[in-house]
Symmetry: C2
Subunit: 541 residues, 2 copies
């Protein structure tokens, strides 16, 4: 043993398990009167936010919830969701945020699989929840969140959230956390096949990713964060805690209505937002009467899919500054960021947008993100061409999948988390995702990235949304098939679209078929390519 | 065992020991061409900074240095110091930065006590080091840092730093760190009595404090940090790593010459600096011909003692934004920050300065800072009046004192680090240090804070520096005795000063004696009150 290890062990004075709950405790002490949460007419200071979270923890504790127990929540972006993100982990219990867009059968599966003991549920989702509860055998305490801003729905439970809080002690001081590796939350991936998998987060990872977010998007005490991202999505990419770490203000939002978003940006002096590209798309293409200009520059972080260049350009013209993040449920949301390089401001807008559509480099708080050959686990050369799988390693990767050792082992094989995304690495080290493994189209022996074709389609002035999948082709094996939604009032024929693509892409990459109409989406807003693939195979000609 | 613990253990994909060395590795990958370090005409990119650090690690490794071994450095603020802060911990070895102002006997004590195997030493300090080396028995590899910007001195060692680097492999990949609790560095407190104590830092704490600094002062990629703070001082308050975490630019500086500082602020577009109040004082009172105006606002963080209001005011007029930090060597430097409250901008300048002189609240990355009665360990009421001892707890507190279990146990008793600083807590939770225990003056049964008297003295237009200690008094037991240095060319009599104080302070708090002349300082620039106390007792009348 070295002299530097002798009698220098961890003890209470110099070691504390990292936990994102510490951020709220600190904010309540330092900035008790600062506005923490806004929801319509409701406004809570940090003192109130903390008190309500402590009451929730206390009320749950009195009902028998403790270390390692699971509390599910079917919630919109309301103050109760933020309170649950603190009150539940404060007890050492595990918060399971449910995707509100899921069907009753899947919700029922999750409640059983995650072994929830309590369900906090927003009355706005009572139709789904009633059916889900009818499908399960578990005894569950159901507590209704009766938000006056919800439309429709009814109360289902034993009691109401506000009455439940009233049961709790505002000065409740739970047992301290013993281990930062302890489970913090449980989030199910919305798989396209099979049962969803439950990603288990730990306190350490959420603490670090929240800090990572804080300086990646530059949150400070004067920041105002608008919740255009669902909080059930990777715990709001850990911004649920990151905004609090900065002692900034949370502005809640139930639904992404562009007119409401633009109004809140002005009324509440919003400085930061997050959202999938579809949210940017809605904001960029909102009707003029819904838009309004604002004096501040709004930082908007996007992820889940690369933002099309055209959308970045329009957003920048509208007063937003777009940052591209990349990650998965397994990585607490954002794991990489497309950090702008010194010379980018001098590039032409479309070239700059193309750079910004890259997934970029690993977060400060992550150990590494790279592209490897999944068979050899060798890194691909940084040549912008060689494809491999994006792999991620570090402290902001989940503990693993709940009750699914096989899936965990497979996801972590070789010491890296395998994302399933195919990518290249550019000479500047930046990762660019080319496709999900199954989204590659192989035509005449050549690989075609469906993303590249989609990127081109988005540049067509009439195109609002686009998705490209493989369609069987007698001659080439497969050929790209495009599904396209046009802007309201815009017109374009299939030939127009194909000609436009051929002007910009190699001919073999251009769609051979174009289908018009709305695109099928998953509960998290991702386009369901497997539906389109099926549709493509059944097209008449 | 809960379902959330089963088969969800830490593994390579999801756990990595936190280490500040990861920041340089990331910067070298992401921003290889960005300017990392500037020292006179020398400029290193992040790729070069990393390569030189790897070479250093490799060269040390070839000489037998590894996990738990100690490498001492007697360095000025030069690139070599920054390289040592990465190359040494990269190996799992421990960096012991020596205070360049110490005497040879103390340096010799430290080299023996810390069991250094290698000494990297700047030729500028050869007089001290030669004497120190003559006093010790250890076999030491001595490597000379021959900085062309040093004045005087000579080479003492077996070889020169650049030749040493040339021995190293630029692609050296050391064994990964196994434990974030592992020792990272060793720093001796400059005690006023007895042998210095060696504070052992761990990787986890330095990682977290570096991040804490990064967002406390708002470092980003475009930031330029000027090294007016000695890097041997708590590893530059962990800014050695924090600036790198932000991928910002380090500007080295051997000596704090105000004319050079003002020139560099302009030439290098400096955005951030740190320094003890004495540095602010020097910059605020530099002769007009040394000063220059600059377009940017420079953030300057200060600590070590509360900045006098008058100095804050002058600095703000000169284009600086002052942030007050507080901490000790035992807490990696900064542990608290005086976060400006929402209503402060509306306060009168002197009132605002008085608020800013408070030590404030604990860092985001720390667990807690409070004021307790050291006997009962009860928190004092937040009444601005009840005195207690500042206590600190969390992940940015040292492992303990090297080979000194008794001192470690005593410092950490009751689960908190005892700072020895006496303070009150204000109703807004802010800590304000009133005095070191031994700096309290008890006069006629009333406690007098020597800081409060000094604060008043600093407001006198003729006063450049001031220190107040207790002097025995037949009538009152003790009475305040002031030692004062006047601005060049300024004049004031003892009576002038006493009258000025009586106008602003309770009479019993005003100095009964005023002594003019230069103030004795410790090697880190702190005024040596024990010298003044001795002097006060031996005054003629």
């Amino acid at each position: 043993m070295s002299i530097f290890d002798a009698n220098l062990q961890q003890q209470e004075a110099n070691f504390e398990p990292l936990s994102p709950v510490s951020f709220l405790r600190r904010a309540a002490q330092i900035a008790p009167a600062h506005t923490a949460v806004i929801h319509g007419d409701r406004r809570y200071t940090y003192a109130q936010f903390y008190e309500r979270s402590c009451r929730l923890a206390s009320a749950l504790s009195q009902r028998g919830v403790g270390q390692g127990d699971c509390v599910a929540i079917m919630g919109a972006n309301t103050p109760e969701m933020l309170e649950a993100h603190n009150g539940v982990p404060m007890l050492g219990a595990v918060l399971n945020s449910l995707n509100i867009r899921l069907d009753p059968r899947t919700i029922a599966f999750i409640l059983e699989h995650g072994e929830a003991q309590v369900l906090l549920t927003d009355c706005g989702f009572s139709d789904t929840v009633r059916e889900a509860l009818a499908l399960i055998d578990r005894e569950l305490l159901v507590v209704d969140i009766d938000d006056p801003m919800a439309t429709g729905g009814e109360c289902l439970g034993a009691l109401d959230y506000e009455n439940f809080l009233a049961e709790g002690d505002p000065n409740f001081a739970p047992e301290p956390l013993l281990d930062e590796w302890q489970a913090l939350s449980l989030l199910y991936t919305s798989g396209t096949t099979g049962d969803p998998k439950g990603c288990v987060y730990h306190h350490r990872g959420a603490y670090l990713n929240a800090l990572g977010n804080m300086f990646t998007v530059g949150l400070g005490r004067d920041s105002v964060y608008l919740w255009t991202l669902p909080m059930f999505h990777c715990d709001g990419w850990t911004f649920t805690w990151g905004v609090t770490a900065a002692m900034a203000t949370h502005v809640c939002l139930r639904d992404v209505d562009p007119a409401v978003v633009y109004r809140l940006i002005n009324d509440e002096n919003v400085t930061h937002m997050c959202g999938a590209p579809i949210v940017l798309n809605m904001l960029a293409h909102a009707p003029d009467e819904s838009k309004s200009s604002f004096p501040q520059r709004v930082e908007i972080a996007t992820g889940g899919a690369a933002p099309p260049s055209a959308v970045i350009e329009t957003m920048e013209e509208n007063g937003f500054n777009v940052t591209h993040l990349y990650g998965l449920t397994e990585t607490y949301g954002p794991a990489t960021v497309c950090v702008p390089q010194d010379d980018w401001p001098n590039l032409a807008v479309n070239e700059r947008s193309a750079r910004m559509a890259r997934q970029g480099v690993h977060y400060t708080t992550l150990e590494g993100a790279t592209v490897k050959d999944p068979d050899t686990m060798e890194e691909v050369p940084w040549d912008s061409e060689t494809m491999g799988e994006v792999m991620i390693r570090g402290n902001t990767v989940m503990k693993g999948y709940l009750k699914n050792t096989q899936a965990t082992d497979s996801a972590f094989s070789g010491g890296w988390f395998h994302t399933g995304d195919l990518a290249v690495r550019h000479p500047d080290s930046y990762i660019e995702v080319k496709d999900r493994s199954k989204d590659i189209i192989i035509s005449g022996g050549e690989n075609i990235s469906s993303l590249e074709v989609e990127e081109t389609l988005y540049r067509h002035p009439a195109v609002l949304e686009a998705a490209v999948v493989a369609r069987s082709d007698e001659k080439w094996g497969e050929a790209p098939c495009a599904f396209v939604t046009l802007h309201e009032g815009a017109t374009a024929t299939a030939d127009d679209i194909i000609t436009f693509c051929r002007e910009q892409l190699a001919h073999y990459k251009s769609p051979k078929t174009v289908v018009f109409g709305p695109l099928p989406k998953t509960s998290t807003g991702k386009i369901q390519k497997f539906v389109l693939r099926h549709e493509a195979e059944n097209l008449e000609n």
